[in-house]
């Protein structure tokens, strides 16, 4: 009898939960409401199947409990019943599949008249590129990446000179305009996922994948990486701000073009370098320790190492930790930082200067 009670509670609870669950879809902010509809259809069809089958089980357990001397009905086959059940199931499957395929067809048909943005992932930051005035991206090549040219754009390609580079985690988009994201990755797999937009697509190094949507609600939304990409996966957060067209244009005009970034001096660019190399994914500037220790108010202080020794955080220690991170690991941190052995002296100095400015 215990089973009947518990199973009944579970079945009723499972169904009612859908009405009372404190966790439900985030408020929709894009054109992909149809995807929510397909989920709701699935919930109804599957809910009916679940209640029917488990209700049948519970009924049988109540009705056909063991009675000494009673014998079960002997019925090895019942072709008619089996055919009916197969047909009913097939209908259920079609009801689920049809809207699913229609929605998928919409999802993968890229619009022609859309705003184009390139999303570039790397461990563990997001950056973006707009094609600029000419509307054409400059050619990129995986071999051209450097700490200076973090998008791997061919410097000799005239189309690339006016490309607008967004070297921070936040990108703006105009409201009610279709956007196509061309996605690529510098290192490993990532996944560009904005819960409120419902859209999601993997970034695969060495190839391009596409994603499109139309933001329908002003506001700032979080980009979460949804494909495991190493130790800092959970910290790979980006932001999308949906603006009016005017605000968007104003914002875009402030962003540097590729040509401008090529001619930037290194000095004073420590923050920018830390941003584009992805340092900031692990080392915060606000005093909160992440995968790695924060940079806030650390310069000149002492750090306890995992060996039990302490070390003063000075220029030499910072340099060593960039070039050969595993040499001295801070206590409580995992030795996961890659070695940045190819940075130039000037770049390391710029980062060091930046860290110094974070100490007051």
């Amino acid at each position: 009898m215990a089973f009947v009670i518990v199973a009944t509670i579970i079945v009723i609870g499972t169904v009612l939960w859908n009405a009372v669950s404190p966790w439900w879809f985030t408020p929709l902010a894009s054109n992909w409401g149809f995807l929510d509809t397909t989920i709701i259809i699935s919930l109804w069809v599957c809910g009916v199947a679940f209640v029917a089958v488990s209700g049948f089980i519970i009924y049988c357990v109540i009705k056909f409990r063991y009675k000494e001397g009673h014998k079960a009905q002997y019925q090895p086959e019942n072709t008619k019943l089996e055919v009916i059940l197969t047909v009913v199931t097939t209908i259920g499957v079609v009801v689920l599949l049809a809207p699913g395929l229609i929605a998928w067809n919409m999802y993968i048909q890229l619009p022609d008249d859309a705003l184009e943005v390139e999303g570039v992932g790397q461990q563990w930051v997001w950056t973006y590129r707009f094609p600029g005035e000419d509307g054409i991206y400059g050619n990129t090549n995986g071999r051209l990446f450097s700490s200076k040219n973090t998008f791997g754009i061919d410097p000799n390609d005239p189309n690339g000179q006016d490309d607008i580079l967004i070297r921070s985690a936040e990108v703006h988009l105009p409201i009610n305009e279709k956007v196509v994201f061309q996605l690529r990755s510098k290192d490993v797999l990532h996944d560009f996922y904005i819960p409120q937009f419902r859209a999601k697509m993997d970034l695969v190094p060495g190839q391009q994948s596409n994603l499109w949507f139309e933001p329908t609600l002003l506001g700032t939304y979080e980009v979460a990486c949804a494909e495991y990409c190493g130790t800092g996966h959970y910290a790979m957060r980006g932001l999308i701000t949906v603006d009016t067209r005017e605000d968007f244009d104003a914002w875009l005009a402030e962003q540097p073009t590729f040509f401008e970034t090529l001619n930037e001096g290194v000095e004073g660019q420590g923050k920018q370098i830390a941003q584009t190399l992805g340092c900031v994914a692990c080392h915060s500037d606000d005093g909160v320790n992440g995968i790695g220790p924060t940079w806030k108010n650390t310069f000149g202080t002492e750090r306890l190492l995992d060996t039990g020794e302490t070390v003063v955080i000075d220029e030499a220690y910072i340099k060593e930790s960039i070039v050969n991170p595993v040499a001295k690991i801070g206590s409580g941190y995992a030795p996961v930082m890659p070695a940045y052995a190819t940075l130039s002296e000037e770049e390391i100095d710029a980062i060091t200067d930046y860290i110094k400015t974070l100490s007051d």
């Binding site: 579970i10 879809f25 995807l35 929605a103 990446f145 490993v188 797999l189 190493g230 996966h233």
Partner: protein
């Protein structure tokens, strides 16, 4: 070729001493127990890892030793251990070895020596796996899917150390062990059936194990190829899967490869793997539900054809794991359709189980409780699979906690419930004693209700969009505090369920000495393993003469018989 051991009139390989009887034994029953013990031991490790993971999610910062790196190592090793080294090994190596010869009425496996070798090679693969915990940068933390490029690069725990190499090597060794065992199961099922045991008279669990083995034999080579190529990429720096990569401020030596190629190879193995685990669980349920409901299984023929259909279609659904992986999006139409088609034979199996309950004579024994619980969790897990298989519906849900909830329901909770049901059911056959019923009930209720409370709410934080494989949710504004509270609740449930598993272990040990004497056929089952002369069956299983089979294995409640069951080896004229 090693000669088959089960010929009438020929002496079977009689063990001569303690070593050949219990360690390097060629007796399928001992080998089964060896498989079960090693699998349960490594499975306990896997459970411990999952609890570590839960501690971090429920009570972040409570254990300082769980940093992001070790969290991901726990996630990875938990997944790999549970899927491959626990469930695959236990269902096929354990249940397969024990049940195939006994249920088919043969003396042993077709090639006992190869069978023994299979276990020891499996043992070696476990040793290699465990050794990765003790190398410098620890085991791999690449996620159980081991996707390159991250799996073999620094930035992933164990990626630049020996961890990933040991993982891949262990898998390769496991595949060799599986192939040796698998060839044996196939040969035994096809060749060593007792007289009268036609294919369509085989118990459904044998069909299930047979087809699962077949799936494994055809699917594991894909993983082997992937693993070998990945080892090449890692050790020799070739570029099978590795494109141009910019990392640590420099361009690496790799170039031109395709990470998606690995995903195809992995999931060509990975999806059938789901059925390698699910089919034996289906089999156990089919046996148990018929026996404990004292009623013939409904629609045997349909069940067999449904199984064959599932096994066949299982090979053309793999890319439903890759809808948003950057493959050609038009493939989505094909794979969504095949995936939803596979739901039809699966649903037929569920219908046939529940119809078996209709007008039955249901004994609420512990194995029956597990069956009923399996039906409910499998329903949930199967139905949520329809969401994820349906390409567009998958887009918002993939890589969220909905996926975690779904696959744990369908390929963790359900198979484990079936597994436990099977252990309670066949323990008397192995030891001659019954497991304690009260302990069994307590263990059942905690496990069933506990796991439901753990995994059911996960679907809803999946709707919310919480991504899986997150060490911490703190940074995200769209994830409310209530998710952390829920995580705390789930962790507490997980700790209770984890602790409850020791009730089973305790029950195992105590019942070995103090359990009620089972007698030859305590459940009144029709299948042959309960009809041996000795209980538990001795070496060679059947004494002088092999059994002869006269009927299908589900003659429960046969009209005209006094008893409510007629064993398979009873001819019509002996029915009283």
């Amino acid at each position: 070729m090693e000669q088959g051991a089960n010929y009438e009139g020929q002496p079977i390989h009689e063990p001569t001493g303690w070593w050949s009887r219990y360690v390097f034994s060629q007796d399928h029953k001992i080998i089964a127990l060896q498989y079960i013990s090693v699998a349960l031991a490594i499975g306990l490790t896997g459970m411990f890892l999952s609890l570590m993971m839960r501690m971090q999610l429920g009570f972040p910062g409570l254990f300082e030793s769980i940093d992001a790196g070790s969290y991901y190592q726990d996630v990875t090793m938990h997944g790999m251990i549970m899927v491959i080294y626990l469930l695959t090994a236990l269902f096929l190596g354990g249940f397969g070895n024990y049940l195939i010869p006994l249920m088919l009425g043969s003396r042993d496996m077709a090639f006992p020596f190869v069978n023994m070798l299979s276990f020891w090679v499996y043992f070696l693969s476990v040793i290699i796996l465990v050794s990765s915990f003790f190398v410098e940068s620890g085991p791999t933390g690449a996620g159980w899917t081991l996707y390159p490029p991250q799996s073999i690069l620094e930035g992933t725990p164990g990626g630049d150390g020996a961890g990933i190499i040991l993982m891949l090597a262990s898998l390769a060794v496991f595949i060799i062990a599986f192939t040796m065992g698998g060839l044996n199961y196939i040969t035994t099922v096809l060749q060593s059936r007792a007289k009268g045991m036609t294919l369509m008279r085989m118990p459904l669990i044998i069909w299930c194990i047979f087809l699962a083995t077949f799936l494994g034999l055809l699917a594991f080579p894909a993983l082997l190829v992937g693993a070998i190529m990945l080892i090449f990429d890692r050790v020799l720096e070739t570029s099978f899967f590795m494109p141009e990569i910019f990392k640590g401020g420099e361009v690496l030596d790799y170039g031109g490869g395709s990470p998606v190629l690995f995903q195809h190879l992995f999931w060509f193995f990975g999806h059938p793997e789901v059925y390698i685990i699910a089919l034996p669980a289906f089999g156990i349920i089919s046996e148990l539900i018929s026996c404990h409901a004292r009623k013939n299984i409904f629609g045997y023929n349909m069940m067999v054809w449904a199984l064959i259909a599932i096994a066949g279609i299982a090979f053309i659904v793999w890319a439903h794991h890759m809808y948003v992986a950057g493959m050609n999006p038009y493939l989505g139409f094909f794979f969504a359709t095949t995936t939803l088609i596979i739901a039809i034979p699966t649903a037929i199996k569920v219908y046939n189980w529940v119809i078996t309950l209709w007008d039955a004579n249901i004994k609420m024994t512990v194995p029956m409780l597990y069956c009923l619980a399996f039906l409910i969790t499998f329903l949930i897990g199967g139905l949520t699979g329809l969401f994820l298989g349906n390409v567009a519906v998958d887009v918002p849900l993939s890589d969220t906690y909905f996926v975690v909830g779904h696959f744990h329901m369908v390929m963790a909770v359900s198979p484990v419930l079936a597994l436990y049901g099977g252990l309670y059911h066949w323990y008397p056959s192995v030891t001659g004693r019954m497991l304690d019923d009260t302990l069994g009930q307590i263990h059942f209720w905690i496990t069933f209700v506990g796991t439901y409370l753990i995994y059911f709410p996960m679907h809803y934080i999946g709707f919310l969009g919480v991504p899986r494989r997150y060490y911490s949710n703190d940074q995200y504004d769209f994830i409310p505090q209530s998710v952390n509270d829920l995580n705390q609740f789930i962790t507490i449930c997980a700790l209770i369920v984890g602790a409850a598993q020791f009730i089973l272990l305790y029950n195992f040990v105590v019942s070995l000495y103090k359990g009620k004497e089972a007698g030859p056929n305590p459940w009144g089952a029709c299948t042959l393993e309960w009809q041996a002369l000795e209980s538990p069956p001795g070496h060679g299983n059947w004494g002088e003469k092999l059994p002869v089979v006269y009927r299908w294995p589900y003659d429960y409640g046969l009209p005209g018989a006094t008893a409510d069951f007629v064993p398979q080896n009873v001819p019509d004229e002996q029915i009283t």
